[in-house]
Symmetry: C2
Subunit: 195 residues, 2 copies
């Protein structure tokens, strides 16, 4: 495994998503891997950590999630802007070479038979908590986070370090079309005793 | 109404949340108003537009949402950093003057008997789509967006203009403790014809 990748304690896992980044969702079933982009993913709970993600019925990745009951949420970086846009706009159904054509390289994490996207800043392996009404009525999936990792060049000791890392590590925040914003400056409130 | 505030077409309303900002949730019932901060809010659907928000059982605002069936999601700005932190860490139950002490000024929007927080960049009035299982098991509320507005100094013609607006208009992205990031630089993908 890449020596820069370190596991993140599960009780800190939601911090990887708190800033609202656009994520990549990947899944594997029966020898098929796919990766999609999702702007609509969000932390849901701390203990055990959970998240929500919206997966449209036309998404091939959704089929793989439903079949395998597992998925990976990963946080792409500014360096992966083009990759993120491409996996969000190409479909594996019509483009069998979607992943290669989008520049996606997959890697393995020990003990998890899942497709992890190389070059991201964080990875969250999730087990689907089956909620068929939400899935059918709202395309809303709930995942329990069962493993979390981050690249220590940007997330270390339970904290993001965007302010000191190279700007290429900033997260992406999708708006529409080809338009994103990067995560910006740190803003800190003085949390000392209140007057 | 403030001449800078303009309504946003409902089919563009999710753009106000796509970049994953920390939001303020406000609600009113039986003469009581409250405002809380929530990092866990997310768009859910385009038509009709919907969103999700996690409201903990200890939150007084949640009671008002459950009683009235309505809430407002608003997007605070970097200029409201301290306000956002304060409404997220003070409780109306123990501090009756929470809103005034946190610097919150409420205003009215024509036709909506709801508490809107002045100085935000965007406002979304939501009607609770009652899903008792989600609310009880996950503290997860689904709202249908029935009205949307933005301050035209930062969101106009269906687009955020963070790159040209004063930095005080940037959105906030909460991590933990007193630590936030502002929305950062625009990143654009060339969406022209693919080769």
């Amino acid at each position: 495994m890449d020596p820069h990748i370190a596991s993140v304690p599960l009780d800190k896992a939601t911090r990887l998503l708190n800033h609202g980044p656009t994520v990549l969702v990947s899944a594997r079933h029966d020898g098929v891997d796919n990766v999609m982009a999702a702007a609509w993913a969000c932390a849901l709970d701390y203990t055990p950590p959970k998240l929500t993600v919206v997966l449209d019925k036309i998404a091939k990745t959704r089929e793989l999630v439903e079949q395998s009951g597992m998925f990976v949420i990963q946080v792409p970086t500014a360096a992966q802007l083009e990759l993120t846009y491409q996996v969000g706009h190409r479909s594996l159904s019509s483009e069998p070479e979607k992943l290669a054509d989008s520049g996606v390289e997959l890697f393995a994490m020990d003990g998890h038979d899942m497709p992890f996207v190389a070059g991201c800043s964080a990875w969250l392996v999730c087990k689907v908590l089956s909620e068929l009404h939400n899935q059918q009525a709202y395309d809303l999936f709930i995942g329990e986070i069962v493993g979390a990792w981050a690249d220590t060049r940007v997330f270390k000791d339970g904290h993001w370090h965007f302010e000191s890392a190279d700007p290429c590590w900033r997260s992406l925040h999708y708006i529409a079309g080809g338009h994103f914003y990067a995560t910006g400056d740190a803003l800190d409130v003085d949390t000392g005793p209140r007057g």
